[in-house]
Structure formats: C-alpha cells, structure tokens
C-alpha cells in the first residue's frame, strides 16, 4: 500500500490520468442508465442552441428533400381525411385524449448503437419527460430530458427502447427492439405463434402503453423465422426514414395521469 502511495506521489500526472479516466467511465456508465443527468445531455440550453444553429445551416442544403417529404405527408393526411369524412372524426374530436405538438429535430444521430435525438421544443411548450414522439408514418421515440426550450428523445434506435406494437390485421401484440445493425429495420419480439403472419404485413402502434396512440403505421414485415414453435427474428422494415427526420409530433396524452392512477390503485387493493 505504501509502495502504491509512493508510486503515485512520484507520478502525479499518472494519478491525474487515472482520476480523469475514472470520471469519464462513470459518465459512460451513467449514460447507459435511463435516468441520465440533464446537464450532461444535449437538453441543456447551451448545447441546444449550438445544435440548433448547426442544424439550421444543414437544413438550408436539404430544403428540397424536406419540402417533398412535407408534400407527401400532406397528401397522406388529406387522403385520411377523405376516408374519415363520413365517420366520426376522432382526430378533431374535442374529447380525444391525444394532443399533438409539432417540433423540429435539431440533432439526429442514427448510426450509433444507442441514439438520442434532440428536438427544439421544451417545457415552455408543455413537453414533459416520457411523452411519445411520432410521425404520420412511424414512431420516433420517447422524450427523456426536458429543458425550457429543448428536449432529448430516446430514439426507437436505442438498446433501451422497447415499444409496444401489434399486427394491423389481428390483435396480437409484440414489442419493437433495435438490434443496432441497420437503421431501416427493427425486430418485433414476443409475438405469440398464434398470430398468422406473412411477409409484407403491416405493423402498427399497439396502444397498450399510455404514451402512444393506437394505430400509427410503423413498418412492414420483411423477414421472419419460425424456430421451435415460436417466432424468432421478425424484422420490420420501417416506413419512416430515420436518416432524414425533420418535422415530428410530440404526443400529449391528457388522460395519462388518470389512467396510471387508476391502474396503480387497482394493484394496491
């Protein structure tokens, strides 16, 4: 022990080196837990504004593509409106529990193993942690940390994300999980063998969580393997292009607390 102390007192840089590396390693471990520190994430004001600036420069060069994507989305929404005109229009129904806030993605890594996005809306726009972030053709993720003007989003392309989904044509549920290889596809896990699936079937959001509304299209089955009477490796080709996320919608479920409280109380009795 004395030798160790002697070694370090003769070698102060070495000691500092070890100390700094230990601190860095603690930060890494922290980032792997769901409750990461707000100040070390890009939700803080300074890095938010730097990211926003750099995003606005990049946007300038991508305007053309974004316009095309928006036109496409408009078209889709118009078509949906056509279809629902004669039915009860749930999306404009004042009693509908979901409210949408448009936001812009200002930082969008999609090539890492664990991706975290940053959006330009925060607590001032009544964004809170654990809200869903969606597109008209997909699920983006769940808000993590929120500052006044910015929020970080745990992407679907993250090891910690497990999002409830179901088959469009039956009521069989599974959960989506990304294997880290390819940002155009995710895996559907825990789907019961009773679900009769084939390639090309559409997967939609399940609505079993309080975070996402039911029925948002997510992707289609591109491949699956049946092994020992259960599905393994169902890959879902995502409809949304995660390499070009720009305009997204944050979903606020106004009856979330009510539902959670009820469920909690029922468990305690």
């Amino acid at each position: 022990m004395l030798q160790l102390i002697n070694f370090f007192s003769n070698n102060k840089t070495g000691l500092l080196f070890v100390l700094l590396e230990v601190i860095a390693f603690v930060f890494i471990l922290n980032s792997h837990s769901y409750h990461q520190s707000k100040y070390l994430s890009s939700a803080n004001g300074i890095s938010g504004s730097i990211l926003k600036k750099s995003n606005s420069i990049n946007n300038y060069f991508l305007l053309n593509n974004k316009n095309k994507a928006l036109v496409k989305e408009n078209e889709l929404l118009k078509n949906q409106l056509e279809h629902t005109e004669n039915q009860a229009i749930s999306s404009i129904n004042p009693l509908s529990k979901y409210k949408y806030t448009a936001a812009t993605v200002i930082s969008n890594p999609y090539t890492k193993r664990n991706n975290v996005l940053t959006i330009d809306k925060g607590s001032l726009d009544s964004i809170r942690p654990n809200m869903g972030v969606v597109l008209t053709n997909g699920i983006v993720g769940i808000t993590l940390k929120v500052s006044r003007h910015y929020a970080t989003v745990l992407s679907l392309l993250n090891n910690q994300a497990k999002i409830n989904a179901k088959m469009k044509n039956s009521h069989h549920y599974g959960s989506l999980h990304w294997n880290g290889k390819d940002f155009t596809s995710v895996n559907l896990e825990d789907l019961p063998i009773q679900a009769n699936i084939k390639k090309g079937d559409t997967i939609i959001s399940g609505g079993k969580s309080v975070i996402f509304p039911e029925g948002i299209p997510i992707g289609s089955i591109s491949d699956f393997v049946i092994d020992n009477k259960s599905y393994t490796n169902i890959s879902i080709h995502l409809f949304a292009d995660f390499s070009a996320l720009h305009n997204v919608y944050v979903v606020k479920n106004s009856k979330k607390e009510e539902q959670l409280e009820l469920e909690q109380n029922s468990v305690h009795e």
Binding site: T13, F25, F27, N58, S107, V116
Partner: protein, 171 residues
Amino acid sequence: MNSDLFKYGILLLLLPILQVGIFNNIDFMGHINPYFYIIFVFVFPVKNSKTILLISSFLLGLFIDILTNDGGIHTFSLVLISYIRLPFLRIITGKSDLDQAQFNIRDLSLPVLITWITILTLLHHFFLFLLEQFSFAQFGNLLLKTLLSSLFSIVLIIFGLQLFLKRRSNA
C-alpha cells in the same frame, strides 16, 4: 505562455463546434465520420505541462460528449491518447531522452509524424467505438469501423496540421 493559453483555449471551444457542425454530418457510406477534434492532442505543445494537456483534453472530450449525448466515450478516449502521446513519440523516434523544452512538432520528419498520428488515431477510434457499443460482440464490424473512420480522420488531421503549422511559421 499566456498567448499560448489563449490560442489553445480558443481551439478548445472551436473544435467541438467544427466537429458537431461539420464532421459529424458527413456520414460517408452511411455511417463513417472523421473525428477531427483529436488534432488537439497533436498540436498541443510538448513544452507545456502534461497536467494542462490532460485537463484540456478532458474538457474537450466532455464538450463533444455533451453535444452528442455520448456519455463519456470521447472524454475517455481523448484523455487516453493525450497521456500516451509522448511515450509513443519516444518509441517511434527511438530517442528515449526527448528534449521537451526544445522539442517542436515541426522538426519531425513526415514519416515519423504520420506514424505517430496513425497509431494514436487508431487507438482513439478503437476505444471510442468499443465504448460506444459497450461489448465485444460484432468485433469484426468494430475493427472495420475503426479502420475506415481512422483513415478519414488521419487524412484530415495531416491536412489540417499542414495548414496550422504553415500559418504559424509565416506569422
């Protein structure tokens, strides 16, 4: 010394902005990005104290990590190569008694400079990607990513070094 402190302080703030604003958006072949900011470790004068280098590397890495939500992977890898940069230089040049006060990066011959940068860049990128995926699974993929990304970084760093050194020798 004071003007040095100012110069490298500016560099400390400028490099993260360059990295996040430009180099992280290249996405060559889908996911290959250069990590240009490690040029800091190569241009930081040898005559200055190691302690200052370690602390500035730590801060630089931390800025990058905060901007990219990467936890501490850039901090860890950068502090690592800034600690081992001199030992490696001694091995490559074959001089065990490097005169730190007189030493100047401009005196290095190009092959020595390139070897030094290549080894440290490869090490930095390897640790960066290893800590990012946090497992030894897909090891081949990890090595490939390290190689491709390093190649990109090394070319940019050598190019950037020429600019940096030329500009200062004229001044």
